[in-house]
């Protein structure tokens, strides 16, 4: 009969009208500034630089290899390499960035910098509300603004950060073991080379 479909549809909207008062399934709205959905663990917004230890300048993991700068699709990263070197987390002397700028107004949150980074130095933040009224440079983040502690990284991406830490610790252990072995070998060698001299004495 003419009108059947219309009545069916009206029944459906009526169901939703009343349903929205009782069912959370139907009324999915989250009233944003007052209540927030907790960020998913994988969520990504904009990149930041990880540092270990208390001093961000000393602990920055970035060795200024500039791979991310090259791979960044919108080319929003600018890195200036240092002239001198400073020891990294395993104690090996490395370059460090004297300038590391990310223009977040250009960044498209694609995470490719994170993927290509061999040093786990750049990670994605979950903070997305970065609006500013300064159009020229308000979103140009420099090293100071980008540097976030490893603890912060643990707080936003716990699983991932634990994995990274384990990997780094493993590498460090390997390097240390190697260094120890090398040192022992050197000591042994020294001992060997020293012994004739001793004997000579």
């Amino acid at each position: 009969m003419l009108g059947e479909g219309i009545l069916k549809g009206m029944a459906e909207t009526a169901k939703n009208f009343f349903g929205s008062y009782v069912s959370k399934e139907r009324l999915t709205t989250v009233e944003y500034p007052e209540e927030r959905v907790p960020a998913a663990e994988n969520a990504r917004a904009f990149p930041f630089l990880v540092y270990d230890g208390p001093d961000w300048q000393a602990g920055l993991r970035c060795v200024s290899c500039q791979i991310c700068e090259k791979e960044c699709p919108p080319k929003c990263i600018l890195i200036e390499k240092s002239k001198d070197k400073k020891p990294d987390y395993v104690g090996k002397p490395q370059f460090y960035p004297v300038r590391f700028d990310i223009d977040l107004s250009v960044c498209m949150s694609c995470q490719i910098c994170v993927e290509v980074c061999p040093f786990d130095a750049i990670k994605m933040n979950t903070e997305f509300a970065l609006a500013t009224d300064d159009r020229f440079g308000g979103l140009l983040f420099s090293r100071e603004k980008l540097a976030k502690s490893n603890e912060y990284y643990h707080s936003i991406h716990p699983t991932e950060a634990a994995e990274v830490d384990a990997r780094l610790a493993e590498e460090k252990a390997k390097v240390e073991a190697k260094a120890k072995a090398a040192a022992e070998a050197a000591a042994a060698k020294a001992a060997v080379s020293a012994s004739p001299a001793e004997g000579g004495n």
Binding site: G5, K8, G9, E12, P73
Partner: protein, 391 residues
């Protein structure tokens, strides 16, 4: 450069132009520019419509307002760096765009995604298809004047699917998830459980969605017999996706090309008979049901294993010289990527075959002789995203 050589349509053999519709009686014709700022052009799109009263006797689509030369950008960056740009083609279905591009590069470089990655890809692609079809139908009904109710129902479900995407890929729309030879991260058991729970609720949603308007007399009167596209013309025009199947042509790349692991799943391809707007609407709704079936099967047994081909590498990726054309059944139609490699880290030629653009070829033919109100519906039933049309 001159604007090229113009040949009159009637001089061309096989040129399947629509019949020229003459205005009735006397009086002036009305030329209306629908767009670029118009409530139902789904973005910045213009249709220069010539009207005789309310009857359309001419229509020229005009686009390019969103053109950013995506292909040129891709030719100037590495293969990997184009991946996030593909998200922005059809921003409703970034994951299928990812897949199409990854598929083309895999073909170009001879990579293969491992089993588990294939499953995850299928799950994500079908979720994408459901949310795209739901919103496409919602937008179509919105164009019909249904005050956004169906659209809001579609968005309600889309919200849940996007939540899943965010949990897995980190972003809701610009997922940038697939990689050449696999997926970027693995799906956790918790995520798969969440997806199962979500999928279990989907049939309910489709039922509700159908009850709302599928048999509504107004909808049937508005859409049946309007914007008819005959199957042979559809094939000749390169129309693809639900629009082609609504015209009754059995051509679903998931069945034809056997890409991914679609061979393993039981699903049917719904076909329309009349090729009108109602068929396009219903084919989309029925495809959602089939997608749910695929999802149920895919989520049942996701094998364990790695998600990346061990041969694949993210840095210094240089495929051998050659070319490849990879295409998948994206929600909007056949999405293809044509790549030529010259052995350098950047593709020599990178081409997107945008289903939205090519499905628009036939827009004028479908609209001629109908009312201006129908133009909006026919356009809505094509289901385009301007990000993909203009690239």
């Amino acid at each position: 450069m001159s604007s090229g050589v113009q040949t009159k349509p009637e001089q061309l053999e096989g040129w399947n132009r629509p019949p020229v519709i003459a205005p009735e009686g006397e009086g002036e014709l009305l030329e209306v520019a629908m767009g670029p700022h118009h409530p139902s052009t789904h973005g910045v799109f213009r249709m220069d419509v010539t009207l005789d009263g309310e009857r359309v006797i001419g229509l020229k689509p005009v686009f390019g307002y969103l053109h950013r030369n995506h292909e040129k950008i891709a030719e100037q960056t590495s293969y990997l760096a184009s991946m996030p740009y593909t998200d922005r083609l059809d921003y409703f279905c970034s994951l299928t765009n990812n897949w199409a591009y990854a598929l083309a590069v895999e073909k170009l470089a001879g990579l293969d995604a491992p089993e588990r990655a294939q499953y995850i890809r299928v799950i994500l692609a079908e979720l994408t298809r459901i949310q795209n079809h739901a919103s496409a139908v919602g937008f179509l009904l919105q164009d019909m004047g249904a005050s956004g109710t169906p659209l809001m129902y579609a968005f309600r479900e889309r919200e849940k699917i996007l939540d899943l995407f965010e949990q897995l890929t980190g972003a809701r729309m610009m997922c940038n998830f697939m990689r050449f030879g696999g997926c970027r991260v693995d799906a956790t058991a918790g995520w798969l459980d969440g997806a199962r729970k979500m999928v279990a609720g989907l049939p309910n949603f489709v039922d509700e969605f159908e009850a709302l308007l599928s048999t509504n007399e107004i909808l049937m009167a508005r859409t049946q017999g309007v914007g008819v596209l005959k199957p042979d013309l559809a094939v000749n025009t390169g129309v693809s996706g639900p629009m082609l199947r609504a015209s009754g042509v059995d051509y679903d790349l998931r069945k034809v090309d056997h890409y991914g692991i679609y061979d393993r799943f039981q699903f049917r391809v719904p076909l329309g008979e009349h090729g009108d707007i109602y068929d396009r609407y219903m084919v989309r709704v029925l495809e959602m049901r089939e997608s749910i079936r695929i999802l149920e099967q895919a989520l049942k047994d996701v094998p364990a294993g790695p998600v990346m081909d061990p041969k694949a590498k993210s840095r210094g990726f240089r495929p051998k010289p050659g070319e490849a054309y990879g295409r998948i059944e994206a929600p909007k139609g056949e999405l293809g990527f044509y790549l030529i490699s010259d052995g350098t880290p950047n593709p020599y030629r990178y081409r997107v075959r945008p289903p939205s653009l090519i499905n628009l070829t036939i827009l004028e033919d479908m609209c001629l002789g109908h009312d201006v109100a129908d133009v909006v519906l026919i356009f809505g039933s094509v289901d385009i995203v301007l990000g993909e049309v203009d690239r």
